[in-house]
Symmetry: C2
Subunit: 394 residues, 2 copies
């Protein structure tokens, strides 16, 4: 049988990162290529307690079909919490619980994009989201990211040139892969441009709570008097990614369409995990838990950056981070980045070539991504020392 | 802000069934409109034991990111089990674990259908799947369903007329909503026609294991020497729907595309629930569990059909069932079915109008769907007696 696939998936390839995971599965290879939360960051004991109690008290509520919108007490908690802690959400908005924040990208694309429409994104940006947009035959237009976020002139230029742009996709905090946090000034500028050119914004904020230094900056959604921002939140980095629970706060009319799309996609998000998240958030001290996570990541990031300073500089440079999970490393101009990443695998250390994150195949980059949260300190030392030896030979 | 949505969702409406659930939420209304497994059918005690043990032994495996394809031991078990028990799966095939079987409909549509392509389905058929196909701008062509499955002449006619038909969607066992089981002869005929006209088949089999009378019939997938059948399986009806774990067994080349689409949709299925399913299937006696479920449904269906015989006949007729969750009730010709269903709600009993399940809005039906698995026996008695009074007044 010769299979004929849809136009939209003809050219889609498996995520380069997930392909790299196959090398990373070799136990002799140090993987700096993942994006997993540190295993010690999971509130495993608390989750076990909550779940045991739930299964004792009311197992049917956790095992039966539920509603597409999500577990009502969790939606109410998220609404209150996001308003109180981030000034996110208004009477214009509603909340949908999703199967991870990744699903928000898919549902939004499905509800908003016609084939050939344009998505404007930071360049580089998160490959998982970019691939979702591509899977709806969207055309990606990348806006270069600087040390304080998108180049605003380039953003306006793109908005002018692309009348079919439907939304701007941004990760304002500790961006994946660049580690960059957008300045407050640029957050306002992005919002104002979106209003001016009548496009939506998807504000993807999986790492915002993992700030271990510096001041918290306001979410773009907190400026949203016009109802143009779709906020994507996730419990993957602060509770557990395996449970696949995320949420979106967006204008009611948009949420209604996302709900209809979600009905056809997975009916509802795993209700057992939704209830466990809700009880963890409300019966335990979530702020103290976040403080504990920040301490873990602060120490681990400091350890990693000290190793990088010692081993990688001056040939491989990088920007210091105040949170998140990723460090973006720049090779000297003229270095063959793809070859460097391949050599690294052969030397038993796995990083992600920056090309995986570019909006278009012709966009050039000399950078690669390192993750510091998944490996142990021993693995970080071993891996960065190998990269260091390679750096000296550039 | 005026929002512009994609062409594909402009006309999509929330599932009529889910809308009816809103009436059904009124505690004074008897709901015969759901499709939930009987609460007493859940292996709640076993799930609690497995989960407690897992959280004690290896919580990180249940809480960390996992692979898109699904939990490897579960995939291996499903592969062996489906081969052994249903002769489903061959060297041509691979397995993907999904977030419920609903996700298989979405991933397959995304990977196979271009906008405007045709899906051939039984008429009536499951609204959740039909809406997913619609959400990819597919055109639905309905083939009338008879007491032994699709009208084969009408199927061939549709295949001849529709060169852009990409797949046939069928629920061969205890079809939702009609309760019909396709005869073995027709299963072969559907398969042969699909081969002849070079289209795929999605065989959706959520209820097959819930046969409480009569002989098990072979799956269409068990004939699949050509690699044209995408088999959709689910643990929702035999373990728990709240956990959202399903699986598809399909040709390798198709599975590869579904995996790429799933990466962009929810990364992977809740891994905690995947492990719990695997351990329930392998550490407990799954066959004994299925026997217990069949006994529950056999008794409950017999109770319901006795009530229907007593109260609804002769004005409202229905076909007896040997399994599954649904009964399809036919009003006398000339009765206004929509009005009958609305009157029923006003009389405090909720059923689903058959029009919700039709492939196209102009397709006429005089039938409505009853579910017997969710209500208690007291509710069944009360609800069917109300319908009986209404039947006498037709």
């Amino acid at each position: 049988m010769h299979y004929t696939f849809s136009d939209r998936v003809q050219s889609l390839k498996p995520s380069a990162i997930r392909e790299i995971f196959k090398y990373a599965a070799d136990p002799t290879v140090v993987s700096l290529s993942a994006g997993n939360p540190a295993p010690e960051a999971f509130p495993a004991k608390e989750i076990a307690e909550i779940s045991a109690n739930l299964m004792e008290r009311d197992p049917i509520s956790a095992l039966q079909y539920s509603v597409t919108e999500g577990y009502a007490p969790l939606r109410e908690f998220v609404s209150d919490y996001m308003k109180r802690s981030h000034n996110v959400g208004s009477d214009l908005d509603d909340i949908l619980i999703t199967s991870g924040a990744q699903q928000i990208m898919d549902l939004t694309s499905k509800a908003i994009l016609n084939e050939g429409d344009v998505v404007i994104c930071e360049n580089p940006s998160f490959i998982g989201s970019l691939n979702t947009f591509r899977s709806y035959n969207a055309r990606l237009v990348g806006v270069p990211i600087e040390s304080d976020g998108m180049n605003i002139a380039a953003l306006e230029d793109a908005l002018k040139k692309e009348p079919n742009a439907k939304f701007i996709y941004t990760i304002p905090n500790f961006q994946n892969p660049s580690g960059v946090t957008m300045s407050e000034e640029k957050r306002h500028a992005v919002y104002e441009l979106a209003v001016k050119y009548n496009v939506l914004i998807i504000e993807d904020n999986p790492y915002g709570d993992l700030r271990f230094a510096g001041e918290f900056l306001p979410c773009i959604k907190s400026f949203d008097t016009e109802g143009i921002v779709i906020y994507a939140g996730s419990f993957s980095k602060v509770i557990s990614p395996g449970m696949r629970v995320g949420f979106t706060i967006a204008p009611k009319e948009i949420i209604q369409k996302l709900v209809v799309c979600k009905q056809g996609q997975d009916v509802h998000t795993n209700i057992w995990s939704q209830i466990v998240c809700f009880e963890f958030l409300t019966k335990y001290d979530f702020d103290a838990h976040l403080a504990r996570l920040r301490a873990i990541y602060k120490e681990k990031a400091a350890y990693t950056m000290a190793l990088m300073d010692e081993n990688l500089l001056p040939n491989i440079t990088y920007q210091k981070i105040d949170g998140g999970l990723f460090l973006w490393c720049n090779l000297p101009e003229g270095t063959d980045m793809q070859k460097f990443c391949l050599d690294a695998v052969n030397n038993k250390v796995c990083v992600v070539p920056g090309s995986a994150f570019m909006a278009n195949p012709e966009d050039q980059t000399n950078s690669f991504r390192i993750n510091y949260s998944t490996p142990t300190n021993e693995q970080l030392k071993k891996g960065i020392e190998i990269l260091g030896k390679m750096a000296k030979e550039i």
